[in-house]
Homo-oligomer: 267 residues x 2
């Protein structure tokens, strides 16, 4: 309904409740999560099967088979384990499939980049490298530039890359929000064919009533030009915040998408 | 709790339900509205007694007596009728009292400006004049400049003026949001002592589920530097949107105001 890529993040086995239901092999529960996220505008269903490293591959297989039957949306495979990624990709590799994620870390490049190439997928790239999370804007930009060089060396077109300029909790790092926003603008100005992406809920880590901050951050990021987010798109008002912002930026003529979402009870 | 002036707009007799309860002289109902708005961070209680022109003065008197007993906040007197304004001001004229509103229209200047001077109040100034609502940014700026000259001629210091650059419904005028935002920036750059103010809910006129748009607009306006709003501050998530945005702009150290508002169930 818009040009924003929405990676729906709920099927994530690092969350206790989700992990328990998936280990119970509760098919209805998982299918319901997929349907709900799709109804609320997801463009991709993220699967994180990392509940227990020793079971990640089998859980990824079970989830990918189930999710790919429940929806026609492409999947975002969320793992640092190349065996789990490969297991998922062998089952379902629709156009638009995403590997979540690569970074500038040597080990991650060695383990994950070959799969992006072999399976011809999109990838979320995090602006971190073996020096860790960049402390400021300049350091983030250096990581972005280095990752772009890496992609070009491997003939990966930049429109397959969704660069996540990362964000740290605002409660301890208020200046980080400005770096994230400036990072998004830098990318769209310097690499217009590349996409931007933010896993935005980290901004509200450590404060109560996180939804207010997640929603407001989404508005600020979209205004800065963000064209993708990893979010719980079923959370109260997240989709409404996105559609409202797009309408006010003149990207939804006569508020058609906004009004249609209201009529179908998405917002 | 912040530097944003919040004019709480619920006591407004142009709304049918409110008008009926006030004509019934339902004291508990009105007092409850005052308390609710104060709890949710109002800095001013707006009173609009314009239910019936022939009763406006007596309704303004009844409301002002009641509201001024229920709270120690200053009142924002919302009327184009100088007799109603004067009646209210005679009862309650606390520091910070606002006349809502003056404009660049000749009749409004003649009727209302003398009261701003006589009672030494603040005033909300709307960027419209006898030519109507300015169609674009340049026309708005001309009205702002003219109003500033008028204030200076009358020895009204600009820190008593809250300039509302107005907004039209985004469903029919998507470009107007950009004018409103640019107007706010223009004012803060050119007249740093003057305040800005937006009666923001007009942005969502004509669309369903207006709350999403009102909240997102509030975020965009605060980022642009807005330091006051006429809002229903009890509406779902409005205060949360404001506090979240201030925290992310680095204007709420360690999210103290945000966390405190959550603990006291304001957000």
């Amino acid at each position: 309904m818009s040009n924003i890529t929405i990676i729906a993040e709920r099927i994530n086995m690092t969350r206790k409740k989700m992990r328990e239901r998936i280990w119970e092999r509760d098919i209805d529960f998982v299918v319901n999560e997929v349907k709900k996220q799709e109804h609320m505008g997801a463009t991709h269903i993220d699967i994180n099967a990392g509940g227990d490293p020793s079971k990640e591959v089998e859980d990824m297989i079970w989830l990918t088979e189930l999710v790919s039957k429940a929806t026609e949306l492409p999947i975002s495979f969320d793992s640092a384990n190349p065996d789990a990624l490969k297991a998922g990709l062998e089952i379902c590799n629709r156009p638009g499939t995403i590997i979540n994620s690569i970074t500038g870390e040597k080990s991650r490049i060695e383990n994950t980049l070959p799969l992006v190439i072999e399976y011809n997928t999109h990838a979320i790239a995090l602006t971190m490298d073996d020096n860790g999370m960049p402390p400021d804007l300049d350091a983030r930009i250096r990581v972005v530039d280095n990752l772009v060089v890496l992609m070009k060396e491997n003939n990966i077109s930049l429109d397959r890359i969704h660069m996540d300029t990362l964000v740290q909790p605002v409660s301890s790092n208020p200046e980080q929000v400005a770096y994230t926003i400036a990072g998004i603008k830098y990318i769209h100005e310097n690499y217009p064919e590349m996409h931007t992406m933010v896993g935005l809920s980290n901004v509200s880590y450590g404060v109560p009533r996180r939804i207010h901050m997640n929603r407001a951050f989404f508005v600020l990021l979209i205004q800065a030009g963000l064209d993708g987010a990893i979010i719980d798109n079923t959370a109260d008002g997240m989709l409404g915040a996105m559609l409202a912002t797009l309408a006010m930026l003149g990207k939804d003529e006569y508020c058609m998408d906004y009004i249609s979402a209201a009529r179908t009870e998405k917002i």
